[in-house]
């Protein structure tokens, strides 16, 4: 141990530390200053940025002893008491944070930059933030916040200001919904106070570390833990045999155990786990566990997986009926595609390849569990689905549901990657019960990649026809998706790849076959835009090509072919509100489409894409009659309305929307509400943050609960006034009887309501209406509502090098009604940014089943300098069943942007790259082929 004297946020600290400790470890673990986040611990994300003597440094790659005598400033040291720095306030107001995990580092970097460069330009800001990754916002609002701070400071505005969490105080009925509301937890996130799973320290907690398989496919002959168990400080070791119950988010594919039992299925699968006093001991123990493997023949690619395989080498025995590694095959047909193809004026068929993608949220998974003989199991974990984890913990650990409590703390991004119950959660819970002590686990970034459940690698053939009237008549798709080692959401993915082809275009027929295969790679699962992103890409590229064949404008072609409002699709999806036309027209106009398309000089192009998505799956994953979302509201004498909801705020802002809804219905200030969410002990069930269901379903449930509460209050106040409840008006934080002019404020109303009976609670719920046909597979893709959208992208392509720059993206998304436009825009911009990554740089690359790029330097999400300034349009079609007319905006916006970029590249240089990502090398290769071709023709 070495002595370290430093000043941290003005406080002198004298510590004894290990010489190898990094500054982030000292700050987080010793000083409990957990505002400093670690997203990678290897210098590639910027989340850990702090200041040393005023200079920004990456605390994760800085030895703490380097700073002996220095003055360290962390995010906790920026605000002065209740006074935030103007930049923090702008982050709040501008919606520059969603999950908030990148925020502390972002603020530290930006503020240091502003102090040095008060007169900075927007492009300098982009460059300054280059090393700080954000996966949620698409950087647009961050850059706005920094730019506005710079100009206000230049005008002489005070640096520190009284903090306020709302852009403006809204006290009127019907005035909250539709206003730009900062997230209710924005202040906590921008000051480093928000606690994420890894930030929560439990007294006397053990550290859990996991032993992972170095083999892609092998039998486990023996696991010898004796040496490890004998180490001092090792409290427990767990292996697969202790948790034999299989699990998986879908009841139809429970094919995973918490740890490998007799064989391993991919490199990185968990084989054993250690709970020890310290991380160092746990790591030593892992090295002392000896596993004997007998390698089996591995399968890495989809084509290989389709080849006949003997039972011995099958990845899962239940594939035996296919005699190869098929997990699920779906073949569906509506109408007669063959006839349409025969009658078509133009037919276009193309083949596409998509790599696997990772969600790359900034917060690595982490969880903490403890066991109490009376209270049972409590787990705090970074999850999007506390409910399914609740059920899974119960079944795998053999605990009654009533003995399990799951809490979701602040969550640093999910995008689908935290929507499965995970092995590590089951293991930590098991170890907590086994040792009787709290057990904590934090993933490394590499472990995040190995856990994956990201977008499926996909190979697909897409064939579409255009008839003589310019109508898209039919689609035929043959799709293979690579599920990796386990099922995850894969059966849903298999269906979605095909059934989500039946909109937004009005087809006469459709046929698809999707096959999901198992391979010896980390499992694929659900990722933003789940199941529909790749076939959407193919569709929109094929449409672009059909338009070229027919020599017409692809946007006009799309406009002619959109489904109308209030209709049924081929497979009986019930389309109600539909803003696709308005969305596409908006971006055409804004981008100058007509002026630019096919008219820009060589190397410069513009392209379009459209899309649609479900707004919440109409069917629950586990079939039962329980509503899909329930919200309770409690009013007590103090006047505060407590909203209990199981919904998971993962940065998208559902907590804020729930508070807005209560405030809207009751006519009260949002400050009189309090959201207690995602704690399965106290909050009624919400199925979770997946399938873009939360605002729609939890929003409807909250609206009902608030209306029921309003009724209770109205009855009590009406009794008090001597009038009828329905005569009362709830507005401006008061309840009035317009006839008599009598009026009470909300605090008085609360007293009147609770007098003689105490606190009251009301409930609201949401259940989807019965939808769809009654054929096999009819349930897939059913949703009470669908979102629609369009994107136009403009790019420059270097004909020398093949490098692409995205100059701008114009996007429009029909979200029914923007309950909170600030957050809604953020969802769209984040989706477009993520789609841009898929189009141009992102791919999970493998070498013999081993992921080559399991880190944030080599897995290339777009950074601020190459991200364009998105032009964001909210299209409000007013959904008849959504809360206040709202529907989804968290996923669907991703679909159109990927093909829009690809089509723009085609417009620029005339080459189609149908294997993503569209990297410079592929473009140049195609350009050269075309040149050779042309030369040969001359």
């Amino acid at each position: 141990m070495e002595a370290l004297k430093i000043t941290v946020n003005g406080k002198n600290c004298e510590l004894l530390i290990e010489p190898g400790e990094t500054l982030s470890q000292v700050l987080r673990n010793r000083l409990k200053l957990t505002g400093t986040k670690t997203g990678c611990s290897e210098g590639s994300c910027g989340a850990c940025t702090v200041w040393a003597d005023g200079k920004p440094v990456l605390s994760c790659i800085s030895p703490a002893l380097k700073f002996a005598g220095a003055e360290i400033t962390t995010i906790e040291g920026i605000a002065r008491g209740p006074h935030l720095h103007l930049l923090q306030q702008k982050f709040i107001e501008k919606g520059a944070l969603q999950c908030g995990f990148c925020t502390p580092g972002m603020v530290m970097t930006a503020l240091a930059f502003l102090r040095e460069n008060p007169g900075c330009s927007e492009s300098q800001i982009r460059e300054a933030l280059a090393g700080n990754l954000c996966r949620c916002t698409g950087y647009k609002k961050i850059i706005e916040a920094v730019a506005e701070t710079a100009s206000l400071l230049k005008e002489g505005q005070a640096e520190f200001i009284q903090s306020s969490n709302s852009a403006k105080d809204v006290r009127k009925t019907n005035a909250v919904i539709g206003t730009r509301q900062p997230l209710v937890d924005a202040n906590a996130k921008v000051t480093g106070k928000a606690e994420y799973a890894a930030d929560i320290h439990a007294h006397d907690a053990l550290v859990c570390k996991l032993l992972r398989s170095p083999y892609p496919h092998a039998k486990i002959l023996d696991i010898d833990t004796t040496e490890a168990a004998a180490l001092e400080g090792v409290r427990a070791i767990a292996t697969g045999k202790e948790l034999l119950e299989k699990f998986g988010v879908l009841p139809i594919s429970r094919d995973q155990t918490a740890m490998a039992v007799d064989k391993v299925h991919y490199i990185g699968e968990i084989v054993a786990a250690v709970a020890a006093d310290t991380q160092a001991i746990a790591e030593r123990a892992l090295k002392a566990i000896h596993v004997t493997y007998q390698p089996l023949k591995p399968v890495f690619g989809w084509a290989e997986a389709l080849r006949p395989c003997d039972e011995e080498n099958l990845i899962h025995p239940h594939s035996a009926k296919h005699q190869c590694n098929i997990h699920k095959r779906v073949d569906m047909q509506f109408g007669e595609p063959e006839a349409e193809f025969k009658a078509a004026a133009h037919v276009c068929e193309m083949e596409f390849d998509f790599p696997g993608l990772n969600h790359a949220f900034l917060e690595p998974h982490a969880c903490l569990a403890w066991w109490d003989e009376y209270k049972g199991l409590t787990m705090i974990t970074a999850t999007q689905v506390p409910h399914y984890l609740h059920r899974t913990l119960s079944s795998v650990l053999g605990l009654p549901l009533s003995r399990v409590r799951v809490i979701k703390p602040a969550l640093g991004g999910g995008f689908g990657g935290k929507s499965d119950p995970f092995s590590h959660e089951l293991i930590v819970a098991h170890l907590a019960r086994k040792t009787g002590k709290p057990v904590k686990l934090e993933f490394s970034r590499e472990e995040v990649f190995l856990t994956n459940n990201g977008r499926h690698p996909t190979h697909l053939k897409m064939k579409m026809a255009l008839d003589a009237n310019g109508r898209l008549s039919t689609t035929d798709a043959e799709i293979v998706i690579d599920g990796g080692a386990f099922g995850s959401f894969g059966v849903v993915t298999t269906y979605y790849n095909g059934v989500l082809l039946q909109a937004p275009y009005d087809l006469k027929s459709l046929h698809f076959q999707t096959t999901r295969v198992y391979t010896n790679k980390p499992p694929s699962g659900a990722m933003r835009g789940h199941g529909a992103v790749n076939p959407r890409f193919a569709t929109e590229v094929v449409i672009d090509e059909l338009a070229r064949m027919a020599d017409e404008d692809p946007c006009e072609l799309r406009l002619r072919n959109f489904l109308p409002e209030n209709t049924l699709t081929l497979g009986q999806f019930r389309i109600t509100s539909n803003g696709s036309r308005e969305a596409l027209r908006t971006v055409m106009k804004q981008s100058g489409w007509k002026r630019k398309f096919r008219k820009l000089p060589h190397g410069h192009g513009i392209g379009a894409g459209c899309g649609f998505y479900i707004s919440g799956s109409a069917l629950p994953i586990i079939w039962n009659k329980y509503p899909q979302s329930v919200v309770h509201m409690k009013l007590d004498f103090d006047g505060r309305v407590v909203i209990y909801s199981g919904a998971s705020d993962i940065g998208q802002g559902i907590d804020t929307v729930l508070a807005m809804i209560a405030s809207e219905v009751l006519g009260i200030d949002m400050k009189q509400t309090y959201v207690h969410a995602a704690d399965t002990l106290f909050t009624p069930v919400d199925l979770g943050s997946y399938s873009s269901r939360v605002t729609f379903m939890a929003g409807n449930a909250a609206k009902m609960a608030a209306e029921n509460l309003k009724m209770e209050v109205a009855r009590a106040v009406a009794g008090h006034f001597g009038t009828e409840p329905d005569k009362l008006a709830f507005e401006h934080g008061c309840i009035k009887d317009p006839a008599s002019g009598k009026k009470v404020d909300w605090a008085e109303a609360a007293v009147i309501t609770t007098d003689g009976r105490g606190a009251i609670s009301t409930s609201g719920y949401y259940i989807s209406p019965k939808l769809g046909g009654d054929f096999k597979g009819a349930g897939a893709g059913l949703s009470p509502s669908y979102s629609f959208g369009a994107c136009i992208a403009e790019v420059k392509v270097s004909t020398d090098t093949g490098e692409v720059s995205v100059l701008d993206v114009w996007g429009a998304h029909d979200l029914g009604k923007a309950l909170n436009p600030l957050a809604a825009e953020g969802q769209l911009e984040g989706s477009w940014h993520m789609g841009m990554g898929q189009a141009l740089t992102e791919a999970m690359r493998y070498y013999n089943g081993l992921l080559l790029n399991p880190n944030l330097l080599d897995y290339k999400t777009p950074t601020a300098p190459e991200t364009p300034d998105f032009q964001t349009n909210l299209i409000e079609s007013g959904d008849p069943e959504g809360p206040f007319g709202a529907k989804e905006c968290g996923e669907g916006a991703l679909h159109p942007v990927v093909p829009a970029i690809a089509n723009a590249i085609f417009d620029a240089v005339g080459v189609r790259i149908n294997s993503l990502p569209i990297t410079a090398d592929k473009i140049l290769e195609e350009l050269e082929k075309t040149a050779l071709h042309q030369n040969a023709a001359l």
């Binding site: 290990e18 790659i61 030895p63 460059e127 090393g131 601020a864 300098p865 990297t919």
Partner: protein, 310 residues
């Protein structure tokens, strides 16, 4: 694990610690390369000697037509010095192409010159390297990137090095053997396993380069994103109008820098041929080898055209 961390105040102390460590110590400057290797378990020296407080390494001065840059000057300082920006725009561009603005505030000039070679089979966690079966550079039997060669093809990636080399810079080296000065290109062995050829425990003290008014320069770096990424090919060129000679230096293409000096007028085909021969590229970075080879030609063309030599 680090057993000792020293923070000497001057060079003498630093050498004292180095000597006392019996070859167990490593210098750490900004730590932005070293610490990542330590995180991944690729670097495990038990003793670290932090040289960031050595005043002797912080100099940045122009004297007698020579620019001297202390080894400990940060890339940020280098890029924001107005004198350097005006006299050596090449250095500013090169420095600003490295890592991110935050990293550049800690990363030093010498640290960049001595950045370890990179390879996708090497820059990985211990778990990963064990699972793949250890490549040559981490103690295995053969090179995985080439599918079995007995030589390591890890790539030399410093972006400052080509710029310095093109400009004819020299590195001041202090070791137990005394002080000496060598051309920057001589810091490198072009051997993947041991890419740096410095005496044991040697310290780079500074980089000096002649100020020549009659030069024109060009720099370009290939990488998938506009920032943060390591190079896939970096080319720097300096055309000395007096000598009628162009010096081209390349990183991101071989185990060491590839350097070519050509008299003007030049024979493009020959220059390209020579560079190609000295750029033993394999598939171990983001972009595939054929593309990087193609870019070598494109960069050469663009650079020479920019200098008016084509």
């Amino acid at each position: 694990m680090t057993a000792n961390y020293h923070l000497p105040e001057n060079i003498e102390q630093a050498f004292g610690f180095m000597k006392a460590s019996n070859g167990q110590a490593r210098f750490i400057a900004g730590g932005t390369d070293l610490m990542v290797h330590r995180h991944q378990g690729n670097e495990n020296s038990p003793v670290l000697i932090d040289i960031s407080r050595l005043k002797e390494l912080q100099r940045l001065k122009i004297e007698n037509d020579t620019l001297t840059i202390g080894a400990g000057v940060t890339l940020h300082q280098l890029a924001s010095q107005p004198d350097i920006a005006s006299k050596f725009p090449l250095l500013k561009t090169a420095a600003e192409s490295i890592a991110s603005p935050v990293i550049r505030k800690s990363a030093t000039v010498a640290g960049n010159l001595l950045v370890d070679n990179r390879c996708v089979y090497f820059n990985q966690s211990e778990f990963w390297r064990q699972a793949v079966g250890l490549c040559l550079k981490c103690g295995g039997a053969y090179c995985l990137a080439t599918g079995g060669k007995k030589a390591c093809y890890s790539v030399f990636v410093s972006d400052l090095a080509p710029a310095f080399i093109a400009l004819g810079a020299r590195a001041g080296i202090l070791s137990s053997e005394g002080q000496k000065e060598v051309p920057v290109e001589q810091l490198y062995s072009s051997i993947g396993l041991e890419p740096i050829s410095l005496p044991d425990g040697a310290l780079i003290t500074d980089i000096s380069l002649p100020i020549r008014p009659a030069i024109k320069t060009w720099f370009h770096k290939l990488r998938p994103r506009k920032s943060v990424d390591f190079t896939n090919l970096t080319m720097a060129m300096c055309f000395d109008e007096e000598k009628q000679e162009v010096k081209i230096a390349v990183s991101g293409a071989d185990m060491g820098p590839a350097v070519h000096i050509a008299p003007v007028p030049l024979n493009f085909t020959e220059v390209l041929k020579s560079l190609r021969k000295n750029c033993r590229m394999v598939d171990n970075l983001f972009y595939p080898r054929p593309y990087r080879r193609k870019m070598l030609e494109v960069y050469l063309t663009n650079g020479l055209a920019h200098l008016g030599l084509l």
